[in-house]
Structures are given as C-alpha cells and as structure tokens.
Symmetry: none
Subunit: 193 residues, 4 copies
DNA sequence: GATGAATGAGACTTCATTCAT
DNA sequence: GATGAATGAAGTCTCATTCAT
C-alpha cells in the first residue's frame, strides 16, 4: 500500500494542480479532479474540507522554494540585500513557473474566505525565514531598528503581496521580477541603514 | 416619467448597495435585488451582464468622495502632503463607511474577472486627481522627479491597494486609517524631496 | 412607395420563411426576423400579434397549391379518385418542398395555441375544394352517401392530418407520398362505392 | 428510508401530475413542482433533463390502463373486436380522466422534440398488446392478412393518434369516445374479415 | 476510509411581448 | 405607422457540498 501506490491524498493534489495548470482554478471542477485522480467525491471531502483548501497546498510549493533559496544564500551577505534578493528570486520564479491565474485565484480566494488565510500564516517557512533575516539585520546594524521585527516582517510581506496582486490585476502584462526589482528598494528604502 | 420615477438602472444600483450593506455581497442574491428594486431578471441582466458588475459602481461612490476632498484641500498645501492627506482621508472613510466584505469582494472579483478592471481604470477621477497632484509636485519641486508622473501615480495606487487588500486579508482587525498613516510615508519616502 | 419597395409586411413574411427554412421555426427568433427584414420589433407586432401567426401564412402557400391542382384535374375524373389524387399530389409536394420541421411546428403550435386554428379553418380553399368534390361524388354516386358531406370532409381531413403528423413524428424516415398512397385508400375504403 | 419516504423522483412525478391536473401543463412551472414535491431545482434537473420529459411519464399511466384492460378482456373475444374495444375504452377513459391540454401538450411536444418520442416507443405495453392481438387475429382468421403484423399495428396506432390529435385540435368540443366508436370501424374496415 | 447519488442555492439565459415616444 | 428600450416569466445550468451506506 504505502510503497506501491501513491496515497489517495497525494493523487488528488497532483491531479488538482495538473488541472489547475491546464484549465485554471475556477475552470477546474471537483468532478474533474476526482476523475483524473480516480477517486470519489467522498474521498475528496474526506481529505479536504473544501475546494479552496487545495490552493493552500501552493504555499507548500513556495515554502520548498524558500528552503532552497536559504541554502543558496551566502550567510555573510548583507541582510537588507538578502531581503531584496529573496524577493527578486521568488518573484522571478513565480513569473516563470506558476500560472498567473492560480496566483490570482489564491489571492482572490483568501480575500473572501472565512477559513484559514494561508497567505498570512505566521508559521510558514516564509515568515520564519524573513523574521530571521530581519532579526539578524537589526543585530548587524544593516536594517533600521525603529520598528519591531514583526512589524518589519509584516510590512515586507505586505509589499510583496502588493507586487504580486498588482501583477495579477494587470494580467501579467509586464515582468513581475523586473518590476519588483525596481519597486522593492523604494518600498524598503526607509529600512536600509 | 422623467421626474416621478428613478431610472430602472439606478433603482437597481440603490437596491443593490442597500442590500450589500445589510447582508454583504455574497449574502445578497440577484433575486433579492430585483425584488427590492421592483424590477425583473430581464431588466437586471439587460443593464448588468453579471452580478459582479455591480461592484464596479463602487468606484463611482469613491470618486464622488475624491471630488469632495479635492474641493476641501488648500491648493497651496505641499503636494507630497496632499498625497498623504488624500490617502489618510480616504482610508479612514472606507473604514467607517464601507463594509469590509464589499471591499474584499471588489478586490477579489477584480483579480479573477475577465472584463474591465475598474480598479485600474485610468479614467477614474481618482487617477486624474493623483496625476494632477504628482505633476504639480514635480513642478513645484516637492515630489522627486526621478520617475515619470505616470510611474509615480501607478506606484502610489499600488501602495494604496496593498494597504486595503491587506486590511481585508486581516479581516479588519486593525485600523486601516491608522495603519495607512503609518505606512504610507514609509512607502513614499523615496519621493519626498 | 407602393411600387418601388415591397411592403413591410411582405418583407417580414419573406424573411421569416427564409429563416424558417434555414433554422427551423423554433430556431428563428423574432429578432432574427426583424434584422433580416430590416424592420423593428414595433413593426413586427403591428402586423402580427404573435410569432405563431406567421406559421398561418403557410396555409396560404398550401391553398395556392390546391388552386393549381384544381385547374389540372379533369372534371370528369371519378370523384373518389380525385380525393386520392389530391392527397397524393399534396403530400408529395409537401415532402419535396416544405421543411419537415415547419410542418411539425405548425401542427405542434396549433395543438396548444389558444387562437385561430388555421388547420381547421373551414373557409380555406382546401375545405372548399374537398367539400365540392365530396358533394359532386355523392351526386354522381361515386362516393358513399351514408354520411353527410361535412362529415366526410372532416373525416378526410383528419386522415390527411394523421398522415402528416405521423410522418413528422417519425422525423420523415419514410416517404410521405408513398405511405399516403398506400394508406389513404384503406382509410377511405368505406366511402368508395 | 425505504419505507418511510417515497423516492425523490416519484415525489416529483406525483407533484407534477397533481399540478398538471390543476393548472395544466403550461400553467405549471418547474418552481411549482419543486415546491410541492419539496425538492430543489438541482434534484429536478438531476432526474429530468427538461420539463417536457415529465410528459413522457404519461405513457406509464396509459400503459397501466392497458394492463388492466387486458385482464378484463375475454380471451375468446373476436380479435378485430378486441381492437375496437380497446380503442373505445381507452379513448373514453382519456376523455374522462385526462385533461385535454395535457394530451395536447404531449402530442405537441413530441412533434418538435429531438429526443425520445415516447408516443412511438415500440416497447411500450401498448405496442406489445396491439401486436399480440393482431397476430392472434391473423392466426384465427379474424384480421386480414394482406399486411404484416407490424404494418397493421402501426396503422392502427396512427389512427388512434389521429383521433386524439383531432380531438385536441378541436379543443374537445365533441366526445372523443363516441367519435372514435364511429370512426375507428371505418378506418379499420379493410382489416375486418 | 470510500462511495456517489442527491441536494441546494443561486447565477444566468432566452425570448416573446409591451409601451412610451 | 415605426421604433427599440425595457420587461416578465420561466426554463436551465453549474457546482460545491452532504450523507446514508
């Protein structure tokens, strides 16, 4: 069981993302997903309490990416630069690898959903990583200390969300990576020492 | 005819907003709207091709507010301050007067809709007003000139959207006005001369 | 006016029938008709109180055909044979010249319409012609006299409607003309002297 | 479960027919039906792909009646007489028990519908019963053998449809039972031995 | 853990028809 | 006579979600 066939849950997740890429989030129905993953309505709702919940699995993908990036970064790099670096790398990756309408759906859904707002979940690798860098930056005197670590983290993440949201709103008619490279330093200017 | 009864379209809009305030966007059905406005499905879909389209009429409300604000502002006020002032006033008004779930719905909808993205419509009073102030500011030497007028306008509006979006994402658990008063100067710091 | 351009009413009729042939009765909307005839909703409803009424203009076409047939028939022909002849000629013509779904629509509509039931209108050329032949037949002793003229006319027309209806019900998968040639004599057998 | 509540589908059918009797076919809306049967649009369209489809359930009612009649008929009765007997009984029953506009709607709908034409479905009890009697009649020498069993069955059913259709076309202004009693022998005369 | 028939809610469509101008 | 914006009525579709087995 455990070895020979993928778990039902992971079959659902794979199928869902495959379909999301092909047909977009709203264009994909739960029926499509269970058909491709060869399961049933019952199983789907056994593992996920709602279709939206699948979108949250996107943050897992993103967090894996942050994990990788963390490895790659030189620890001695200037902390402020680290933030800009992370931002540029991630936004470039999103632009290349993730369908824009998925991002749009994710942001759209989180705005109106009642439940867990994954984008803001403080336990994500993302938040832990940013927090760590800000802390380190303040200690090293490379990031301004007139705001708390969590205040800066929150501000930074708001700026990132702003860049992604606007890119989605504009239907991707410019480069997310490049626009972020240009704007992020402006938005963070105050915190550079 | 002309005097005695409001046009059908405006009856629909009024009814819709009344209901949106009472029951929220998702809580309001098209049937509710046509019942309160005493019209019919046919008429509703004759004027609006989709329920979402009603949300766009929110920008009319906002633009009316910008009109008012423009009157109130002292022309000699520092241009950079004008931007911060507008931001604070508007966000305070939104916080007080507009149901958060309407803003959330508006932003959510615009992210995934195919059609006109009202939030970005350059012809809105909003854009024309910001553009005018930025222009004036550069002329007067109160706003930095290392970016074009339209670039700054766009950046400024992105920052505003970020603040509103994040407030919605956080379900309004802090003051939008106050948070904007604190963050907007940071975000705009680069453009202050 | 009178000479140079066709009357609005006849433009509507032509357009309607052209469209009925192309798209069927139900497939043709009043909007289609007014577009092709280059008139307006108002005009359409000025001339026809309902879309169904257009179908009635079909009986004019049929009656023209009966007029023709009457000319062609030898007056001395046996009256009973005349009835069979008329039946065969008409049903063959229908099969060739008239779209089956128009006949189906005509019959279908008349079954449920409140208004005038053209199919039964005793003033039609059709009824006048059949009545004349039956009368003549009884006088000549070629048609059985144990039923009144109007009784036989009515019976005869019911049989014709039966053949057409059934042909429509079967979606025309056999020859209306041939099936009528075979069945009509059976149905009328009693009246042959 | 099994005992306590009727299936949703049959609740819909019952409600529909109750309403059809009260308000006629066109006078009954799908909303009425789901309200009375205490179900939902979703369920309705899960079981029936269109409102018209409900009319087809009429043949079930008719077939039940044929079942009954078959029991009542003396097996030794002359086969030709059996056909006339069946015809008279059924048409009398229709006249008494079934709203004329339902029959009209059924015939009207079947003329223009794309789908299954219930009226012609050879598997109905009706066709099986008529076929059996014709077969038996030919064997016994009570029904003429110059046409095939299926040819005669088809002809017979066409005659019955003719009588019902015309009755509907005339809005029931005479007795269907009596008119059938008078005409059916004329129409079938050829097959009497 | 799995299943899928059944449900509920509401958006949206379609058109013939009306009516003030 | 003509116009077409506006209407009304009902049918149909779409799906996420639930629940008895």
């Amino acid at each position: 069981m455990s070895e020979e066939k993928k778990s039902v849950k992971s079959r659902i997740v794979s199928a869902a993302w495959q379909l999301f890429y092909e047909k977009g989030y709203n264009g994909t129905t739960v029926d499509d997903i269970i058909e491709l993953s060869d399961t049933s309505k019952g199983s789907f709702y056994y593992y996920f309490s709602t279709k939206d919940e699948l979108l949250n699995t996107l943050s897992v993908i993103l967090d894996d990416f942050y994990e990788e990036l963390e490895q790659k970064m030189e620890p001695e790099m200037n902390s402020f630069e680290k933030l800009l670096y992370l931002n540029y790398e991630t936004h470039s990756m999103m632009e290349e690898k993730i369908r824009i309408d998925l991002l749009a759906s994710l942001y759209s859904t989180q705005l109106v959903s009642q439940g867990n707002r994954n984008l803001l979940d403080q336990n994500r690798k993302y938040y832990r990583l940013i927090t760590k860098i800000v802390e380190e930056g303040q200690k090293r005197g490379q990031i301004c200390s007139d705001m708390t670590v969590s205040g800066i983290t929150r501000y930074y993440s708001m700026c990132e969300r702003a860049l992604v949201s606007d890119w989605c709103l504009n239907k991707g008619d410019y480069s997310l990576g490049e626009y972020s490279r240009k704007c992020m330093p402006l938005m963070m200017e105050h915190f550079r020492v």
